[in-house]
Symmetry: C2
Subunit: 220 residues, 2 copies
């Protein structure tokens, strides 16, 4: 699906500004460290990205600081390709992250210039839209436990892991993704653990899915 993107990363440019000093650019890769901003709402959409390793969050803010994380982007996933001239959300590294970046052309010319890339961007955009629609159902109509169960299963499917799912993001990120508070996320996890559906290791940074069938039932 995304093969064409491999052929078109933008050329490496030397690091110049202080703000970029922490990024180690190797070839076309750019590295970001924990909580570093990749782009902000309002920035030019001159570049979009594919995650090589690590995880990225994209979010929007209300004026009073309320935050909605619309998606987490894991290895292999594209983000930042948008219709307008300005990004409509902010992207930050969740931990240390490596990205490939692509020069983003106007969609008016892209289709003629490079149909293979256009196809990949269209595919990625449609995939993102499908996820967004699924997530609206979650945000608008699911209970707290249903939200958390859905989130865990979705993450497990995307990382194709066995029983153990890595949680690269903090509770506050999960909360702001699911439209909850950290306390409610924590209580929901505790409840699932007490029901024997999951297990949470001591460092709290992962989840073991003990009973996927039960989780699927709880997902609604």
């Amino acid at each position: 699906m995304l093969a064409a993107l491999e052929a078109n990363p933008i050329r490496f440019r030397p690091v110049e500004t202080r703000a970029e000093a922490s990024r180690t650019a190797v070839g076309p890769l750019r590295n970001f460290s924990k909580d570093e901003e990749i782009f902000a709402e309002g920035d030019d959409t001159d570049v979009f990205y594919k995650v090589v390793s690590g995880a990225v969050r994209t979010y929007k803010l209300l004026s009073d600081g309320r935050r909605q994380i619309d998606a987490f982007h894991l290895a292999g996933e594209i983000f930042g390709a948008e219709a307008g001239a300005e990004h409509r959300f902010t992207a930050e590294a969740i931990g240390d992250v490596s990205l490939v970046c692509y020069r983003s052309r106007s969609i008016d010319t892209l289709s003629y210039d490079n149909p293979a890339l256009a196809r990949d961007v269209l595919g990625a955009t449609m995939e993102a839209l499908a996820r967004a629609q699924e997530h609206m159902l979650l945000l608008g109509r699911k209970s707290a436990v249903e939200k958390v169960a859905t989130f865990l299963l979705g993450l497990a499917e995307r990382t194709t892991s066995g029983g153990a799912v890595d949680l690269p993001m903090a509770r506050i990120d999960i909360a702001d993704h699911l439209g909850l508070t950290i306390e409610t996320v924590s209580r929901s996890l505790t409840q699932l653990e007490r029901q024997g559906v999951i297990a949470v290791p001591a460092n709290r940074r992962g989840i073991v899915l003990k009973d996927r069938a039960a989780l699927r039932r709880l997902r609604a």
Copy 2:
């Protein structure tokens, strides 16, 4: 933006089944009456649509009947163009509706076949994604009154009306779009009316925006 679509409507096919008898197809147009299903979740994505007149709702259901309307589609807007082989949501006519339909090809071939159409579909998809992201912020993080204020302003902008905004959809549709109940939608409208920000005519099927600045402030 959508000019290329005009060039590619699918050919008219005679109405055949009883289920389709109520539709009067004139040239490439298809007409649907109130609450009629246009396509269902799981149907083949062989055709997508543009609204000529009327309004369409697209939604998803949970197994127990909870519904989330992900979008309303008004005149001029495209819906039903998706990545997979099956529609991921259901589309219904809100009132009487006229649609143009387009044969939907695989996105793999679309980019090469017809770059202009590919560009339009990509543009429409990115636009839908941007709206979905904005809507996730609403669903996850806004209060009831903020949701209703945002909805009214958004509708007013899209229909480029003066003070009066037509509400083609019922309260239950608004509720299922905003992640609320009809009662809460009604109470929020009443509250806005008491504050002098809007007025609701006797037939309840429209809204007069009396004070847009106040609405914008309430939108958060």
